[in-house]
């Protein structure tokens, strides 16, 4: 009886599980390279581009800090709380530190972080290399 119940349950669930896996495969295949690589960060980050800029420009032995300014309307709801964690993942093994060599700025007040602005966009995101 238990075997019959298991067989029926497996047969009932199998098409759904297969369909879910197929759906995931199709959805992932349609994504852009960037969306696929940023993945979870799309629900968190104010800006994808800033991650690529930070990863390309900050040397692997340099330190950085994340500065988050006033929340913009186009930011994901989770941005203020989880952006530092996501930036840490992208920039690992670089260390986060106060008064770091670099500042990853998301709509922050740049005046508070004196240094060379090596990259910025129109949405208030920037990379600052401290002197």
């Amino acid at each position: 009886m238990c075997v019959v119940v298991a067989a029926v349950a497996a047969a009932a669930r199998y098409p759904t599980a297969l369909s879910e896996a197929n759906h995931t495969a199709r959805r992932d295949a349609r994504q852009s390279y960037t969306d696929r690589e940023i993945a979870g960060g799309n629900a968190v980050l104010p800006s994808q581009r800033s991650m690529y800029e930070a990863r390309a420009r900050i040397p692997s032995d340099a330190t950085y800090e994340v500065a988050i300014g006033e929340r913009r309307e186009d930011w994901p709801p989770l941005a203020p709380d989880h952006t530092p964690t996501y930036v840490r993942y992208v920039l690992a093994p670089r260390h986060e530190a106060p008064d770091a060599d670099w500042v990853v700025c998301f709509n922050c007040e740049l005046d508070r972080y004196p240094g060379e602005v090596v990259w910025r966009d129109d949405e208030g995101n920037a990379l600052v290399r401290r002197a």
Binding site: V3, A7, L18, A21, A39, R88, Y89, A92, P93
Partner: protein, 456 residues
């Protein structure tokens, strides 16, 4: 996301199989090449477990964990197993008897086809999947990236990510995958977790086929794979499923040991549980529960069985120690709850939560209900020792989950996976239920055919 990355993973996993095969040859030996093929899944899991332990020890003693170090660890373990195997008089596998295709029942053929089609779909789902899971990008993968870049776990970096004291097997296996893929490819990394799932199913099917009729085994194997929470989360690059694969395979080895089949299941159990305690902190709890259930089920063989269990338990504890000494020496904390005894006001609520999650068909289909039914039926008509073992295991696991929720007072008592690990923890119980069900039911079936109690 390249063919080169996939080819690299294929080579890496073939390497796990080779290392594990040598380990299983040393402790068990193979009568024929077909027997090797049958146990290939178990050998693969043992390869991962054995290398997880060796690489962790290397990391702890300060070996720079570059690509060569990973390779050296694998070669070292293989050579060691070869020497032990030789010393124990193991011979090369002999020729296999001709394969009689009629021995493969129609049900087994359908089961294998269903599993194969599902894994093909799962491969495509994992092949281009981004890293979405919060725990994966918040601490598992950052730790792996740190080891990959620096060859060590830098404590200054470790304290910046969540759970710095979590054991390092999963980050180390991820690093091995990065080396094999030629870089930090967090997308193709999901395929590595697909290999773990394939290896686990091959291990369970290989160990049980021939002992259990296919019509009893395959419905449960398929149900385990397609149960809602399983099919959705098998490829998430976190420690949960790998931990559960190791523990459930160890439980099957424990079942063989309880039947006094031979001496090999106990060393296999030690390696699998040894890796489990280095995979996640819950591994300590799960290993303790397995040993406790084994002790209860073998209480009538106190003088012969318990000393062996004590030695095996000490071996697992010895494997667990170096990492714990390392992180304490580096001033890290966080594996233990604030107190062993949870606050009373949380106990009842936690227990209710554990039972609610355990019996939720939206998560596990009917796996856990069938597991409980199989234990009861087996206690009445089947192998009572086995029923006692599995029943004790299930009860202790549920209590263990309740204890985790209650004792870690910062966890809200909730089934929300974002704030409480009870759903992920209970996944192990569901997986276990799905695997032990056919073993218990086959015992009842065999008993009814022989007119006596029998084991599968």
């Amino acid at each position: 996301m390249t063919a080169r990355a996939l080819a690299g993973l294929l080579v890496l996993n073939a390497g796990y199989l080779v290392v594990g095969s040598s380990l299983l040859w040393a402790v068990r030996g193979y009568g024929s090449w077909r027997e090797w093929a049958r146990y290939a899944g178990l050998a693969y899991l043992l390869g991962i477990a054995g290398l997880g332990i060796v690489w962790t020890l290397m990391l702890v003693v300060g070996v720079p964990m570059r690509a060569l170090a990973f390779l050296a660890g694998a070669v070292l373990l293989t050579v060691l197993c070869a020497i032990v195997g030789r010393a124990r008089g193991r011979s090369r596998p002999g020729p296999s008897a001709p394969l009689v295709l009629t021995t493969l029942s129609l049900v087994s053929a359908v089961g294998i086809a269903a599993v194969g089609v599902f894994f093909e779909a799962l491969f495509r789902a994992g092949r281009l999947h981004g890293l979405y899971a919060f725990d994966a990008w918040s601490f598992w993968v950052p730790k792996a990236k740190a080891i990959y870049a620096e060859g060590e776990l830098d404590v200054d970096f470790l304290v910046q990510v969540a759970h710095p004291s979590y054991p390092p097997v999963v980050p180390l296996l991820d690093v091995a995958a990065f080396h094999a893929m030629g870089g930090v490819d967090v997308v193709t990394l999901h395929v590595q977790y697909w290999f773990y799932a394939v290896g686990f199913v091959a291990a369970i099917a290989g160990m049980l086929l021939g002992r259990i009729p296919g019509w009893i085994l395959w419905p449960f194997v398929v149900l385990v794979l397609v149960a809602p929470r399983m099919s959705e989360s098998l490829l998430v690059p976190q420690a949960d499923f790998l931990l559960q694969f190791l523990v459930v395979a160890a439980v099957v080895a424990a079942v063989f040991w309880l039947r006094e089949e031979a001496g090999w299941p106990l060393p296999v159990l030690v390696v699998l549980l040894g890796a489990a305690v280095l995979t996640k902190r819950e591994g300590l709890l799960l290993a303790a529960v397995v040993f406790a259930a084994l002790a209860v089920a073998s209480a009538d063989r106190l003088r012969t069985a318990w000393p062996k269990l004590a030695v095996a338990g000490l071996a697992v504890a010895a494997i667990a120690m170096p990492w714990r000494l390392w992180y304490r020496d580096h001033g890290l904390t966080g594996e233990s709850p604030p107190g062993f005894l949870p606050p009373l006001d949380r106990v009842e609520e936690s227990l209710r939560l554990s039972l609610d999650v355990l019996l939720d068909p939206a998560l596990w289909s009917l796996l856990t209900v069938l597991g409980i039914a199989a234990v009861v039926l087996s206690a009445i008509w089947g192998d009572r020792r086995l029923a006692l073992f599995v029943g004790t295991l299930l009860v202790l696991l549920v209590l263990g989950g309740a204890w985790v929720s209650a004792a870690f007072t910062d966890l809200p008592i909730s089934a929300d996976e974002a704030v409480n690990p009870i759903v992920r923890y209970t996944g192990g119980i569901a997986l276990l239920a799905g695997v032990v069900c056919p073993i218990l039911l086959a015992g009842i079936w065999a008993g009814s055919r022989r007119g006596t109690e029998a084991v599968p």
